[in-house]
């Protein structure tokens, strides 16, 4: 049996409220597993316990009860962090460091040095498209560039698991699409990704499986396709279908299949994001 990339078992986290006898239950008896190579979306409204769960998985916060494991190792143990790269929401890295210095700093924290570190820095800057800004201080980076350098630092030790908290928050559509493409490429490389995002359209595009948290409880969990498909309906898309053909199909259905009803006939739409990118791709100059 394959060891799960993330295993959360009966996780509960309770925060005492200072100067009061009350306690806040942020996560309640949560259990889930993320298989290696999966892109898993952890969804939920603000205050649903997503960030707390993420912090416990990263070993930043201890659980009140239950356990979390990363590739079979207790995530509260520091050595399990070798397998994890993390990009927090709205990160502010050391703005006095340049892009290259930032990656070297994080690389050193992971035990890299010498030519290995130099090569890794160059490779990651190229991967996230920041070679041109390698010697610019992060104080002069745009929001999208900061997210991309954040992704690069998360990848510096070549972790098997990436934890991304709102990786496209505040980024323009083009930057957001680039980050989405990067996440897809990580999946193609066999990496596991745990993604927290409020951009459900993007989650739908890239996640294999999702879990929905509400008030600290996992209310739904499963394969994305299983959760969002409407079981009793079927979609057929034609190209260049004439009005006569469509009328004939409708007549056929009405005549021969009384239990079947036509719900809707409409032209498929592209997404607003794709439309925006098509319109702006010729004129936009990136960062």
């Amino acid at each position: 049996m394959t060891t799960p990339a993330i295993a959360i078992r009966n996780l509960t986290k309770v925060f005492p409220i200072p100067f009061k006898r009350e306690r806040l239950v942020a996560v309640r008896d949560l259990s889930l597993e993320v298989a290696p190579g999966q892109v898993y979306g952890l969804l939920g409204p603000n205050g649903s316990g997503k960030s707390t769960t993420m912090k416990i998985v990263l070993g930043l916060v201890p659980p009140t009860a239950g356990s979390t494991e990363i590739f079979g190792r207790d995530s509260q143990e520091v050595d399990s962090h070798e397998e994890v790269g993390f990009l927090p929401e709205n990160p502010y890295f050391y703005k006095y460091l340049t892009g290259a210095e930032t990656l070297r700093f994080y690389g050193k924290l992971c035990g890299l040095s010498g030519s290995t570190l130099r090569d890794k820095t160059d490779e990651l800057l190229k991967l996230v498209g920041l070679e041109h800004a390698r010697d610019r201080r992060l104080g002069g980076y745009s929001k999208g560039m900061l997210q991309r350098i954040g992704l690069a630092q998360a990848l510096v030790q070549e972790p098997r698991l990436l934890v991304l908290d709102e990786p496209t928050a505040g980024v323009d559509p083009q930057g957001s699409a680039e980050i989405r493409d990067l996440i897809v490429s990580f999946k193609e490389r066999g990496m596991t990704v745990l993604l927290c995002s409020h951009l459900l359209g993007q989650v739908q595009e890239i996640c294999d499986r999702i879990g929905i948290l509400a008030h600290g409880v996992l209310v739904r969990e499963g394969r994305l396709e299983d959760l969002i498909s409407i079981e009793d309906q079927t979609e057929i898309i034609f190209r260049d279908a004439s009005p006569e053909l469509l009328a004939e199909i409708q007549a056929l259905v009405a005549r021969s299949y009384p239990k079947t009803s036509l719900v809707e006939t409409r032209k498929p739409r592209t997404t607003l994001e794709r439309y925006f990118l098509d319109v702006t791709s010729g004129s936009a100059s990136r960062d």
């Binding site: 962090h81 709205n90 460091l97």
Partner: protein, 309 residues
């Protein structure tokens, strides 16, 4: 953004590099990063004030005898070194941890295989490096100004037209009053005190909720530390502080446990005054400072290890 993404390495780096429980390389990476942060925040600008103070004081006391001139120069310079390094230690350290928490940079660091003890040690070592550079630069400025004043006074003696024996006598007195090897020990004690204050400040920042609170408590620590010895002597002389009395157990002993007795570091004033200070006393004072640094570092780790960030 590049069109193609490169294929993953055959052996991921995470499994090539063996994690170690304590890594001096990681601590050094954190320390040098902290030093870079502080240097690029332009904290060294205060050295300009020190330089102006040096030049001003050397010109102000020019009408004194050369013994008086050099004494005032030493008083001013080492006094300023002590104040500047203490202030720098508190102000530079107070914001390190809160800023990393606020900017979420701490998450990205602790999500890497970095134990919290290494993080704190690295931050503190970075401040120690900053203090070391500061005190070396201030010491060098002091040495240059002192050498310049000695050079000027020696020129006046040589051109004074006195007999050779008197000139030699005056020059001997000049060099003896200017160059005192014990001043190095004074610098070392000033550095140790500043390191102690940095570790106290870092300790406070591990449980403080704001930088203002951290700075306030640390500055209060300096005042309390200075007053502790005087208060103890006074209470013991007047018989108020009997051993194991309520005042001793409920107030004095807890305060002594938390705040450092900084009066021990006033030894530097005796060194400046030219009094003979036994080497063992200097070593004892430095030992006291190192002990406090270690105590505050471990106490800080104890608080930080439990902190939910």
């Amino acid at each position: 953004m590049p069109a193609a993404v490169e294929s993953p390495s055959a052996t991921p780096l995470a499994r090539k590099v063996k994690h170690r429980f304590f890594s001096p390389a990681r601590v050094w990476a954190l320390a040098t990063n902290t030093l870079t942060e502080l240097v690029r925040l332009k904290v060294f600008y205060f050295l300009l004030i020190f330089a102006l103070l040096q030049i001003g004081s050397s010109l102000l006391f020019v009408r004194f005898t050369f013994q008086g001139q050099f004494q005032m120069l030493k008083d001013t310079s080492l006094g300023a070194m002590s104040i500047f390094t203490s202030m720098l230690a508190i102000l530079a350290t107070a914001n390190l941890l809160p800023k990393d928490v606020e900017d979420r940079t701490l998450y990205t660091i602790l999500a890497k295989p970095v134990p919290r003890f290494e993080y704190l040690t690295g931050k503190l070592l970075g401040v120690f490096l900053l203090l070391l550079i500061s005190i070396l630069v201030m010491g060098a400025m002091f040495a240059v100004v002192l050498w310049w004043r000695v050079h000027v006074v020696a020129g006046e003696i040589l051109s004074g037209g006195e007999p050779p024996d008197a000139v030699n006598q005056n020059l001997s007195e000049l060099y003896a009053s200017a160059y005192d090897p014990a001043l190095w020990a004074g610098g070392l004690i000033i550095y140790t005190k500043a390191a102690l204050l940095a570790s106290l400040t870092l300790f406070v920042s591990t449980f403080a909720t704001s930088s203002i609170f951290t700075i306030s408590v640390s500055v209060a620590g300096v005042f309390i530390g200075q007053l502790l010895g005087t208060a103890r002597d006074y209470w013991q002389t007047t018989g108020t502080l009997a051993p194991n009395s309520l005042l001793d157990v409920a107030f004095f002993k807890p305060v002594v446990l938390i705040f450092p007795d900084l009066q021990a570091f006033n030894l530097v004033e005796e060194i400046i005054a030219g009094a003979h200070v036994a080497p063992w006393l200097v070593a004892k004072t430095i030992g006291l400072g190192v002990t406090y640094v270690l105590v505050y570092l471990f106490a800080g780790y104890f608080m930080f290890a439990k902190r939910e960030i």
